[in-house]
């Protein structure tokens, strides 16, 4: 036992952005908080890292589109250097052999490159999607309702949702309930005709999930995306200056200002449990820290199965935790290029935006199919950014960084990633070459992170970005597991605050904030 015993109100495990948000929120409420991060740097999958000398890139997440306004406000992130202005919004460009199509502003306030009739169809679909996503939006900043023992506040919250539904009007309300669990493919077919636009939306709906556009419930992914906002506008996206690490730096600064003691390179070995109560942790270095509250902002399965251990919880709970589906299906590509690539038909503004290779919903579906059987997509779909175009500090002068999220790359590749990775990289490069001819010759260095790499490097089991599939059966009251969705766990004093908890993944800070609010409310 060391001197750090009994000195803390709260120990936060994991310095990913949710852990930082949770720790900062607790500290702002007067709790004495210590944050233990396993790696040498905080930020988790939201770090900016140098992947080859002179080239830096947002390590996993590379676009900011859902940092929750409550997080911005609670932690006063603007005062800590994080500003978002309308001018920062970047467009989404659907790449195609038939020429690109661009969604400008906040998720296509203006659509260019499509026919007039498609533009008006999009206007309607966009408005409808934002209305429907708006019904779900209040859930993001709330604890999922406890069905067994509902509080007045929860009842009121649900009542407000019912009201929001009612405010949609009879037609919209019926339609909302009809489409909510629908697949995105069929909905797009109902309303749009341009394959490029449909491909882009199909891609966005399934990004980060083990779902194809034709999989039931895939539309929910699009609504999840559109329930997020940045700079006050739903669906907007920015490439933070300095990469995602800059966002983390702001949150870290807020945390430190609030008095959080941040300890990198302090991996936790074990949560100490005494008589059904979490009372502290033991680090891998053997240090014991005790606190009234232990908050785990790492993966829920790692927390329960490895840090707590199945012996301290019930069999049924272990069953549920083991059954959380979290096999990642997305890879991350980082290219160090001699010079900026030229994507055919795309203007300068477009190159600073998000470039999506998903030429049609059928193409996305075909890319998905092999992943069901443990094979990668021979013609993968992807979302590309060129962060160094807007922030020259990320690459040496004249050179360029390319960052891409590539699907589908099943975690459990049949042939194994050691053998499969070079082949998958070739398939990705072939796609890039088709849309940006000559790009292959300018590659100075390529880093491809498969789900297996992401798992090892960022301590994300299954290499899953969301710490658990974000599908209907693992959302809201079922996230991370049914019966324990409100950030608390069967162990008194132990809380979950990571993306594995409601509302889920993405750089939102919402799970961390909600968890901290829950802890504060319990002690109030």
């Amino acid at each position: 036992m060391t001197s750090s015993d009994l000195n803390w109100d709260a120990i936060v495990i994991g310095g990913g952005h949710n852990g930082l948000v949770a720790a900062a929120t607790l500290a702002k409420a007067g709790r004495k908080a210590v944050l233990l991060e396993a790696g040498n740097e905080v930020g988790g999958a939201a770090r900016t890292e140098e992947f080859t000398p002179g080239f830096r890139v947002s390590a996993v997440a590379h676009l900011l589109n859902r940092l929750h306004p409550d997080v911005m406000k609670t932690l006063e992130l603007e005062r800590h250097g994080l500003t978002v202005e309308r001018g920062d919004f970047v467009p989404s460009v659907a790449l195609s052999k038939d020429g690109p199509l661009t969604l400008h502003g906040a998720y296509g306030e203006v659509l260019t490159g499509a026919s007039t009739s498609e533009q008006s169809a999009w206007k309607e679909l966009r408005a409808q999607s934002l209305r429907y996503a708006g019904v779900l939006k209040p859930f993001l900043s709330r604890r999922p309702p406890n069905l067994g023992d509902m509080s007045l506040a929860e009842m009121t919250g649900l009542g407000q949702t019912a009201l929001a539904l009612k405010r949609l009007g009879k037609e919209d309300m019926r339609d909302f309930l009809r489409v909510l669990l629908m697949n995105v493919y069929d909905l797009l077919d109902e309303q749009l005709s341009d394959d490029r636009l449909k491909g882009l939306l199909a891609f966005d709906a399934t990004l980060g999930s083990h779902l194809g556009p034709r999989s039931p419930t895939s539309l929910l992914g699009l609504y999840y995306r559109l329930a997020g906002e940045i700079g006050g506008l739903a669906g907007a996206q920015i490439q933070p200056k300095g990469g995602m690490g800059a966002v983390v730096a702001a949150i870290r600064s807020a945390a430190e200002k609030a008095g959080v003691s941040i300890r990198p390179a302090s991996p936790v070995a074990k949560v100490i449990v005494e008589k059904g109560r979490a009372v502290g942790v033991i680090t891998q270095k053997g240090e014991t820290l005790r606190a009234r509250t232990v908050v785990s902002a790492i993966n829920p399965a790692t927390t329960i199965l490895d840090l707590v251990g199945p012996r301290e919880v019930d069999t049924g709970f272990v069953r549920k935790v083991k059954n959380i589906r979290m096999k990642g299906d997305a890879a991350k590509l980082h290219l160090a290029l001699d010079r900026p690539p030229q994507f055919s038909g795309v203007d300068a503004a477009g190159h600073k935006g998000r470039l999506v290779i998903a030429p049609s919903p059928d193409h996305v579906e075909r890319a998905f199919n092999p992943s069901k059987y443990g094979e990668f997509s021979p013609e993968p779909v992807m979302e590309i950014t060129l962060p160094s175009l807007a922030d020259s500090s990320l690459a040496p002068s004249g050179a360029c960084v390319l960052s891409a999220v590539v699907q589908y790359a099943p975690y459990a590749l049949k042939e194994g990633w050691a053998a499969g990775k070079p082949q998958f990289l070739r398939a990705i490069m072939a796609q890039l070459e088709a849309y940006a001819p000559g790009i292959g010759a300018t590659v100075r260095h390529a880093e491809l992170l498969t789900p297996a790499d992401i798992e090892a490097r960022y301590r994300m089991p299954g290499g899953h970005w969301h710490h658990g599939e974000l599908q209907a059966d693992q959302m809201l009251i079922s996230r991370p597991v049914s019966g324990w969705s409100g950030y608390d766990t069967p162990l008194e004093g132990l809380f979950l605050a990571g993306a594995g908890s409601h509302p889920g993944g993405g750089i939102s800070g919402a799970p961390g904030l909600n968890a901290a609010r829950r802890i504060i409310a319990m002690r109030a």
Binding site: V273, K275, G276, L305, G309, P310, R311, E312, V313, D314, T315, G316, F317, V318, R319, K322, P490
Partner: protein, 419 residues
Amino acid sequence: MAQATRKKPVDTEIDTALEARSAAQSHFRTLRLGTPFQPRIDALGLKQDWYSWAGYRAPHSLWDEELEYFAIRSQAALFDISPMTKYRIEGPDAEAYLDRVTLRDVTRLKPGRVHYTAWCDDEGFVLDDGTLFRLSPTRFRLCSQERHLPWLLDSAFRYDVRVEEETEAVAGLALQGPTSFAILRDAGFAGVERLKVFDLAEFAHDGATVTISRTGFTGDLGYELFVPADKALSLWDRLMAAGELRGIRAIGYTALNRARLEAGLIVANADFTTSEHAIRTDRLRMPDEIGLGFMIDPDKGHFNGRRAILEARAKKKLRHVLVGLEIEGNIPAEHAIVYYKKGQEVGLVSAAMWSPMAKRNIALASLQRPYGDTIVDDLWVEIYAMRELQYQKLMKKAKVVPRPFIKLDRRTANPPADF
């Protein structure tokens, strides 16, 4: 007009394949399996009164219910317990594993001892009760009413332990009654006199080993014997031969059921509904609600259901209580409704009989708290007595009494008495 164009298959290969397939699916031809003792029991089963015990053909009664019951109390009764579900649990972590799965403190169960225990799901509802035999520091046998292999295997995650079902491989006999000890001694099981209640030991039998424990379900002097299935018949014959002059009789379940009621013991799915069987949410029972609260040890390590059980205690959420009743008169109150002040329904009798040993009309009943818990006066049962095709409704006074209803010194006497 459509014409029949399909020809009958004449291919003999197909016929053979079909035959092979139906041969592999012949299980449905045996509606109820026999136990390893079946040849002996069939020969004695004069009444052909069978029921299904976990899929096995088991006798309600072999020749006479009354005399079978009195064999337990006055002689020695042999009862086939082979259909009881048995698990072999072995490994360095077996003790820790069972301590997490079951309610009672397994670290205090010494090798060579047996205890009665129960286990719960996450919500603290009882999955089953049963007996745990500690055969060695690292080897146990868990006996239960229901099957639990998936639960037991899932519970074994991250324990160094092997869990195997051995229901078919191991045959079991209960030898119960005042002369049971003398029979075992005469059968040549030297040292059996040293077994105290809940002790177990291994003895040689027919080139194999028989595990004998001083346990049973009758509240009487008695033993249970476990033997490899292929030695079952020779064990039966050995006991029958040794017991001939001491009144040994094979018995069926009806007689045993009476004895266990006198002993105040409960039966899963008769006196309470196990949590995996319960369909209606108000049928689930916590240990405290079926008289098993004594098993809960908040100071031992974590066990399944601990959080829920302690929370229910703290928040006073326990809704039921299982009690022993003594009812006026001599008409068994089986499945009678229990009333408070003759008018308010407060529970149900799950088992009842006129006890020849206690000379009392006894019953087990499940009541809604606070009745049976803090309010124990003015309780009544309504008995529907069938009298020549007409019910005669009897409202009888019921008194909550402690269990067991009978206490026999010979059950625990050391050394066991020679009758």
